[in-house]
C-alpha cells in the first residue's frame, strides 16, 4: 500500500467502476480493458516498488484515436488517468491511483519509419529505447541517450522522464535528441509538436513536454534523431588514493578542453562490492576509481587518451590502464554496470538516490554522506556520473528491522537536501514522481511551484492526468520515500544499473 498522501479518492467514480469498464470497452478491443482485481496486479507499481496501489481499471489502447477517445471520456466524466510505459521508472511516476484508469502504452510497440536521409526514426512510444538503436545499427547509426534500463524502458517513458545515460555529457539527454512527438491532451485533443525538421517555431512545447512526467499529455508517437557511430571508442581505468584526487582529475580533464563520452567514479565500498560480484578485476588498493571513455576518429581518440593519461599522472593516479580492445573496454564497465545487483548481494535492501551536484563539490558531498552514514548507522556506496555531476548513493538497510526503512529514507532526503545546498538539484534523471515530491520546496518557492501548476492547468484544466505526482500535495517539506529493494528482489533486477 501507498503510505504517502495521494489525491483524495473519488468514491463516486469507484462506485461507477462497472459502467466505466463497459464504456471503455466501446473505445478499444474488449480484451484491452483489464479490471479484475488480480489481473491488474502487474500494474500496481513501477520500479519504486515500496509503493503499490492497484488501479481501478487498466486500458491498453492500440492507436492514437483510441487514446484520444479514452482521455476525452475520462475528462468529461472526471476520471483520473495515469499513463504508463514499461514501468521501469524509479520515482513512482507511473504509480496508479485507486480511482484511476491506468493507460498503458504497451501496444504502441512498432517502429514506424527509419529515415537515414533525414537521420531520424519515427516510432510508437511503447518501443524500447534499445530497439531503436537495434533497428539502425546495421547502417552504423545509433540513438544516443542510453539509460541503463534501455533494454526494458520505453521511449515514451524516456520522453516523460527526460532520461539520461552514461553518455549524456557529450550527447545530451532525451530532450536534446528528440525532434517531435504526437501527444494527446487530457481533453482528447491530438497535436503534433515538431517532426522531422531539426527545430520548431513558436513556444517550445516539445521541450516542455519532455521531462514533464506524464502530467501534460500522453505521448503517442515520437521522432528521434539518430547519430552515426563513432569510428573508435577507448577507455581508461584509473585508480586514486583519494576521492579528491579522482574528482580533481575530472575537473582537470574538462579544464584541458576535453569532453569525454563518459566519466564515472566509484568509491571504495562500491569498488569492492562490484568487484566481488562481477570479477571485473578492479584495483582494490585504491579509494576511488574513475572510468573515462573517449570516442571519435582513431587519431583523435589516441590524442585524447594521451592527454587524459597525463592529467591522471599529475593527480597521482596509482593505477592506470588503457583499454587495448573492445573486450577490455567492456570489462572496465562490467563492474560499474553491476553496481545495483552487487549492492543487492551485500544488503537485504537498498534505496538509490539521484541528486546532481557541481562536479567540484564531489569530495565535499561524499564527506557529508559518510558523516550521515555514521549518524544513521546505515552503510552507503556511491557511484557518480562524474562528467555531469549526477550522484547515485546506494543506501543499504534491512526492512526486517522496523525503523530502518524510515531511517534510510531520512538519510536519502538529507543527502538530496545537501545536494541542493551545494548548488545542485534533487534529481538528475529519475524524476520527481512521488518520491521527491515533498522535497520540491527545497529548490523552489511557492511562486515557482504555482507557476508550474498554472502550466499544468493550461494543458489539463481539471488536473486529471497523473495527479499527485511531482508537485507537493501537502505544501510542506515532508520526508519522502525512495526506491526500495528487498532481498535484491526489485523489479528488473537483471538490468545493469548506473
Amino acid at each position: 500500500m501507498c503510505a504517502l498522501a495521494m489525491p483524495v479518492v473519488d468514491e463516486v467514480i469507484l462506485n461507477l467502476k462497472d459502467k466505466i469498464v463497459r464504456d471503455l470497452k466501446k473505445f478499444t478491443n474488449l480484451n484491452n480493458v483489464i479490471f479484475d482485481f488480480d489481473e491488474v496486479t502487474p500494474y500496481e507499481t513501477d520500479a519504486l516498488s515500496a509503493y503499490k496501489q492497484k488501479p481501478m481499471v487498466v486500458v491498453l489502447p492500440e492507436n492514437t484515436e483510441e487514446v484520444s477517445n479514452i482521455l476525452k471520456y475520462c475528462n468529461q466524466n472526471n476520471i483520473k488517468v495515469v499513463p504508463r510505459g514499461a514501468g521501469t521508472g524509479l520515482s513512482g511516476g507511473a504509480l496508479p491511483l485507486k480511482d484511476c484508469v491506468l493507460l498503458g502504452l504497451s501496444k504502441f510497440n512498432k517502429i514506424l519509419e527509419i529515415d537515414f536521409d533525414n537521420r531520424c526514426v519515427v516510432t510508437q512510444p511503447g518501443v524500447t529505447n534499445l530497439s531503436i538503436t537495434k533497428a539502425v545499427e546495421n547502417n552504423e547509426f545509433y540513438y544516443a541517450p542510453d539509460p541503463s534500463s534501455q533494454i526494458a524502458c520505453s521511449i515514451g517513458g524516456n520522453i516523460a522522464e527526460n532520461s539520461g545515460g552514461v553518455h549524456s555529457l557529450k550527447y545530451g539527454t532525451t530532450t536534446n535528441n528528440v525532434l517531435g512527438v504526437e501527444i494527446v491532451l487530457m481533453d482528447g485533443t491530438i497535436m503534433r509538436l515538431g517532426g522531422k525538421k531539426i527545430e520548431s517555431e513558436g513556444y517550445d512545447l516539445l521541450g516542455l513536454i519532455t521531462g514533464s512526467e506524464g502530467l501534460l499529455g500522453v505521448v503517442t508517437e515520437v521522432t528521434v534523431k539518430i547519430l552515426k557511430k563513432p569510428q573508435s571508442i577507448k577507455a581508461l581505468l584509473l585508480g586514486f588514493q583519494s576521492v579528491e584526487a579522482a574528482g580533481q582529475t575530472v575537473s582537470d580533464i574538462i579544464s584541458a578542453g576535453i569532453i569525454p563520452a563518459g566519466m564515472e567514479v566509484m568509491d571504495k565500498p562500491l569498488i569492492k562490492a562490484t568487484n566481488d560480484y562481477s570479477k571485473a578485476g578492479y584495483p582494490l588498493n585504491v579509494e576511488a576509481i574513475l572510468i573515462v571513455e573517449l570516442d571519435g576518429t582513431e587519431s583523435e581518440v589516441n590524442v585524447l587518451i594521451e592527454k587524459v593519461d597525463d592529467v591522471a599522472k599529475k593527480n597521482d593516479a596509482t593505477y592506470i590502464r588503457i583499454s587495448k580492445n573492445d573486450a577490455e573496454r567492456m570489462r572496465f564497465w562490467l563492474g560499474r554496470k553491476a553496481a545495483f545487483p552487487a549492492i543487492g548481494e551485500m544488503s537485504p535492501d537498498y534505496i538509490c538516490m539521484d541528486g546532481t551536484i557541481p562536479r567540484k563539490k564531489l569530495p565535499e558531498v561524499l564527506k557529508e554522506i559518510t558523516k550521515l552514514s555514521k549518524k544513521y548507522g546505515l552503510r552507503v556506496a556511491n557511484c557518480f556520473h562524474a562528467g555531469d555531476g549526477n550522484l547515485h548513493p546506494l543506501i543499504m538497510f534491512d526492512s526486517n528491522i522496523k525503523s530502518e526503512l524510515k531511517k534510510a529514507e531520512q538519510f536519502g532526503a538529507d543527502i538530496l537536501k545537501y545536494c541542493v545546498k551545494s548548488g545542485g538539484v534533487l534529481t538528475g534523471e529519475h524524476g520527481v514522481g512521488i518520491e521527491k515530491r515533498e522535497l520540491m520546496c527545497e529548490m523552489f518557492n511557492d511562486d515557482d511551484i504555482q507557476q508550474q501548476l498554472n502550466i499544468k492547468i493550461a494543458f489539463d484544466k481539471n488536473s486529471l492526468l497523473n495527479p499527485g505526482k511531482v508537485y507537493p500535495i501537502l505544501h510542506r517539506c515532508a520526508e519522502s520515500g525512495k526506491m526500495h529493494v528487498h532481498k535484491g528482489e526489485n523489479k528488473f533486477k537483471d538490468i545493469p544499473r548506473f
Partner: protein
C-alpha cells in the same frame, strides 16, 4: 512614443511589472532595443533590460556561466575566450544584418530569439545550452527554473519554453549558459561550382560518415562575394564542410573526406584554420545579407525537401544561402513583394517546414504573420501557456501571434 524604463535590479523590475499588472499596462520587453524582431507592436511602456548586466559567476571547469540577462554577448564571449572556451551554438551577431556592423546585443535577447549558428545540426540549438533561467512573469513574480548543472529533471523545463518566446512569457533577469572548450583546430573542405542538388547530396553523404562534420553550408553563385578570404574562390557556388577537433585528427578527417568526393578533385580546396573560423563566423552572422533593406526570413525544412522547395521559386528574384547541412535556408525577399512572401509561406506549409521573419520593414511586420503555425490547437494551447505566465497579457502582447 512609449515610455522607456530600464530597471537596475530584479526587485525594481518586479515592482514595475506588479504595477503594470495592477494598471493593466502593456510592456514591450527588449534587451538593448537594437533589433525589432517579431510582429510590430505598440505598448504603453518599453522595458529595457540593459542595466541588468554583469557576469554573476563563471566556472570554466564546471562548464557554465551565469549572467544577468542584459549582459552583452560580446562581454560573455570575450570572457570565455580568455579560458579558451566558447558558446558552442555560435550565437548570431545580427548587428551586421540590422545595422551593417557588429552588435550582438544582450544574452537575454539572444535567448528570447533562440537563434543558433552553423553548428546547430551537430551540437543543438541555443535552447539546448541553457541550464537555468530566472525572470519576472506577467504578475511581477520572480520565477526560476533549472540550475547550474547539466543533468536536471526537477520540475518542468521552463528554460526551453522561454528560449524563443520573444519576451512574451517572462522578463528574463538571470541566465545560466552551458559553455564548451574551444576546438583546437578548424578546417573547411570547399567544393566550388556544383549546384544545390549536388551540394545537398554531398551533405547527405558526409553526414553518413563518422567524420563528425560540424558545419555544412551552400552559397549559390554571387552570394559569397562579400568574403575577403585569400583562399576562397567566390566566382562560383561554394559548398563548404567544416571539421573541428585536435589538429592531427582534423587533418586526417579532411583528407579522408577529400577522398569521398574524389571525382570532384578539381573543384576541391581546403580553407585553413584562421580563414575557416572567419568563414563560419561570417556565415552564422548572416554577413551575406549585411544591412539588407529587404525582408529576411529563416526557413527550416527537412533536408530532403530543400531542393524541391527552392526549385519552386526558380523564376523569382530569391536570394538564399543554405546552412545546417540542408536543414536551414536563409532567404531575402524584395521588400515590396508580399506576394512572393506569401507564396513562400504556402509552400513551406506543404513541405512541413516553417518560416520566421527575422528582419522586415515595419509595414511588413504589421501586416504579415511573423511565424507560420497554422494548427489552431497549437495556437490555442500556446495562448493558454501565455496566460499561465501572463494572465492579463501585458508582456509584449502580439509579438509572436496577433492574438497571443
Amino acid at each position: 512614443m512609449s515610455e522607456i524604463y530600464s530597471p537596475v535590479s530584479e526587485n525594481e523590475l518586479s515592482d514595475f511589472v506588479k504595477q503594470c499588472f495592477a494598471d493593466q499596462t502593456s510592456i514591450e520587453i527588449t534587451g538593448h532595443s537594437t533589433k525589432p524582431i517579431g510582429r510590430f507592436i505598440e505598448t504603453s511602456k518599453i522595458l529595457q533590460l540593459k542595466k541588468l548586466d554583469g557576469i554573476i559567476e563563471y566556472f570554466p571547469e564546471e562548464l557554465y556561466i551565469k549572467v544577468k540577462a542584459g549582459t552583452s554577448l560580446k562581454l560573455v564571449e570575450s570572457e570565455l575566450d580568455k579560458k579558451n572556451q566558447e558558446l558552442v551554438f555560435e550565437p548570431a551577431d545580427l548587428g551586421h544584418l540590422y545595422s551593417g556592423k557588429s552588435n550582438p546585443g544582450s544574452v537575454g535577447g539572444a535567448v528570447a530569439c533562440n537563434l543558433s549558428g552553423s553548428r546547430r545540426f551537430k551540437v543543438g540549438a541555443l535552447r539546448d545550452h541553457i541550464l537555468g533561467i530566472q525572470g519576472v512573469n506577467g504578475k511581477g513574480e520572480v520565477i526560476k527554473s533549472g540550475g547550474t548543472v547539466v543533468k536536471n529533471v526537477t520540475g518542468y523545463d521552463l528554460s526551453k519554453l522561454i528560449a524563443g518566446s520573444y519576451g512574451t512569457l517572462l522578463a528574463l533577469t538571470e541566465i545560466v549558459l552551458k559553455v564548451h572548450p574551444k576546438n583546437e583546430e578548424c578546417q573547411t573542405l570547399l567544393i566550388n561550382n556544383i549546384n544545390l542538388e549536388k551540394a545537398l547530396s554531398f551533405f547527405l553523404k558526409s553526414m553518413q560518415t563518422s567524420f563528425e562534420i560540424s558545419g555544412a553550408c551552400f552559397y549559390p553563385q554571387n552570394m559569397s562575394k562579400f568574403f575577403k578570404l585569400n583562399d576562397l574562390d567566390t566566382s562560383t557556388s561554394i559548398t563548404a564542410l567544416r571539421i573541428e577537433g585536435p589538429k592531427i585528427s582534423v587533418t586526417e578527417r579532411i583528407n579522408s573526406l577529400k577522398n569521398v568526393f574524389d571525382e570532384y578533385k578539381k573543384n576541391i580546396s581546403i580553407l585553413e584554420n584562421y580563414q575557416s573560423r572567419i568563414f563560419w563566423r561570417d556565415t552564422s552572422d548572416l554577413q551575406f545579407f549585411n544591412n539588407s533593406e529587404n525582408i529576411i526570413v529563416k526557413i527550416v525544412l527537412p533536408p530532403t525537401y530543400v531542393n524541391k522547395f527552392i526549385n519552386k521559386f526558380e523564376n523569382e528574384d530569391l536570394k538564399y544561402v543554405v546552412d545546417w547541412a540542408g536543414n536551414l535556408i536563409w532567404c531575402e525577399v524584395p521588400k515590396g513583394d508580399s506576394v512572393l512572401l506569401r507564396q513562400l509561406r504556402k509552400q513551406i506549409i506543404i513541405f512541413n517546414g516553417h518560416m520566421t521573419i527575422i528582419k522586415a520593414p515595419n509595414h511588413v511586420r504589421i501586416r504579415e504573420e511573423f511565424l507560420t503555425t497554422v494548427d489552431e490547437n497549437i495556437k490555442m494551447l500556446s495562448l493558454k501557456v501565455k496566460e499561465s505566465f501572463d494572465p492579463k497579457k501585458i508582456l509584449s502582447p502580439g509579438k509572436m501571434y496577433l492574438e497571443i
